[in-house]
Symmetry: C2
Subunit: 350 residues, 2 copies
């Protein structure tokens, strides 16, 4: 019933508690004989160091808090899973702090502080300068995922959203879309803004002016309703760039429900390249944003930050690349040449 502690092991092995501690901390000095005895005693007793006690006195709790929103978007779920595994491989545990919608991350940060987390990963909500100051004061490293903040010592990793928007715009123009539109999650979502900017800027440069729409709310059905609204609007778009695949897939559904054919009547592009996007029923054209590299970058940032807490903040941009499937038309065939609006060839585009 009662826990077996370091003292029990010390007694059993005939050494001091310190010796036991040193055996269990890598890089501490302990003679082979002591090590062997201690290990044997520990094994016999079934001893495991209490990470609570360790965390209380030591410098690391081997605990990281992640602030997440709803997991209804598969991307978030897969991200969380990959993150937990990557951390586990480094012998670190993940604690969840759920945040509601666009609510402040503050309670999540407090949670991270309360448990003396080694770091907090912010993957939902908006972080303010005050928040980051709070963390800085407490010595809690912050890593932003999919958002950015101009604050000292705050690291971040983001997709190259603007470039994704550019690629989407390029594709739509090259496939003779005349009424491009954007469907996002709302003005407050960081990545959305960047994707919109890249999209709209590129189109503006090409002489087109996209319409902008937003879902009301983040629940999955909101995307369906919004897409339905977009696609039954007076000047119905014939090309729709959605801020992510979760929205885009629902847009495909909405289009079909309205009797529109994709991509003939309307082209649809997503973002993330979810496994679902490749399903035969959808064959969604999208921008690939590999979760592995996202998580890899986070882990890497985490390591360097932990090694040097004083270094200035670094933000990493991860490239995304277009995966054209069946919800957009072929760029080179099947479209009457006369319908193709002349577009400057962009060598970086696919």
């Amino acid at each position: 019933m009662s826990r077996v502690t370091i003292k029990d092991v010390a007694r059993e092995a005939g050494v001091s508690p310190s010796a036991v501690s040193r055996v269990f901390t890598t890089g501490a000095s302990a003679s082979p004989l002591t090590r062997e005895r201690v290990l044997a005693a520990a094994d016999r007793l079934g001893y495991r160091p209490s990470l609570l006690a360790r965390g209380l006195v030591g410098r690391s709790t081997h605990l990281v808090t992640v602030i997440m929103g709803s997991l209804s978007d598969p991307f978030d779920a897969l991200f969380l899973d990959a993150l937990a595994r990557a951390l586990a491989a480094r012998d670190t545990r993940l604690m969840i702090a759920s945040t509601a919608g666009g609510a402040p991350t503050e309670s999540g940060l407090q949670q991270a502080l309360d448990y003396k987390s080694d770091a907090v990963i912010v993957a939902a909500g908006t972080m303010s300068l005050a928040d980051s100051a709070l963390c800085a004061r407490a010595g809690l490293p912050v890593i932003l995922a999919g958002r950015a903040l101009e604050a000292p010592g705050v690291d971040g990793v983001l997709a190259d959203n603007a470039d994704g928007g550019r690629q989407a715009a390029d594709l739509l123009m090259r496939t003779a879309c005349h009424r491009p539109a954007y469907l996002g999650l709302g003005k407050t979502t960081f990545s959305d803004r960047e994707r919109w900017q890249g999209f709209a800027d590129t189109l503006a440069r090409l002489g087109a002016k996209p319409a902008e729409w937003a879902c009301e709310g983040r629940d999955p059905e909101a995307a369906f309703r919004a897409a339905s609204a977009v696609l039954s609007a007076p000047h119905r778009p014939d090309g729709l760039f959605c801020s992510n695949d979760a929205v885009a897939l629902r847009a495909v559904e909405a289009a079909r429900a309205l009797g529109l054919s994709v991509p003939e009547d309307v082209s649809i592009i997503g973002f993330n390249n979810l496994p679902q996007a490749a399903w035969p029923s959808f064959q969604l054209s999208t921008l690939d944003y590999p979760i592995g590299s996202l998580v890899g970058a986070i882990i890497d940032l985490l390591d360097t930050r932990l090694a040097d807490p004083q270094r200035s903040g670094e933000v990493r941009r991860l490239p995304v690349h277009l995966v054209p499937r069946a919800t957009t038309r072929r760029a080179d065939v099947g479209v009457p040449a006369s319908a193709v609006r002349p577009v400057p060839i962009n060598p970086e585009a696919l």
Copy 2:
């Protein structure tokens, strides 16, 4: 930089650390004056009790560990999300322990013990009697989700899988399926077994003998491959009950890819009633298993267990109910009466 501790607050408020502690623990005696002073001082200093220290000495860490598999099935993701929120509402945090495939849950249990979790929720992997003994010895409450174990003091909550299987079988027979089959995740998956049993037993009682198939592996594509194999087998089934929606949705895809029409050529039934199952593209017939009640039961079990650690284990069965959509034929119309095999009417069935 350095943390503000209970002593700092005590000094600032002009009282002893104990007094501060008592102000922050509900139900302890503190005079209104002291309370006010302490609260003011704490607020001024930005004090928050260290949950590590609290957990070390106190009886609760307000920490629960959940052992989860991959989050690629949306059901798991939604479950995790709901669980985290429900716990957060009770001021308890959730720690993730990821387990690979059917790997032992042991490292997850150790993680729970290392951090002195208030409880561990096992939602993946298989738990042995030895595992449960380990937890019992350490005084760690175990709650099984979607699995059962005959062990003292271990609680569990499961869907009424056998009844789900029965309902699926009933529906297939009532809609004139002659070659029913089951597609599961594999022999080692607890819920799968029960669903199969309920399905097969019911069919046997009706004089039919379903074929049984399993996916090789748990990754999403495995389900697609398996379904493709099933549907191109010599005696192709005309009714397929899948162990969950994730599989069933892929089966629908596979059927379509093979040029089969659903439900005319083959009826397909899932389990869970994922949001996706209701999408227009699928309209999957399935068994509704509300995540809310699952999580609710877990929380409830947790509360009662924590209140009385000595009580004997309790397993709760949650009802599931059929949601017939478009991947099964209508039971009463559109099928030649002659084709309907006489089936005993079951009053509980929909």
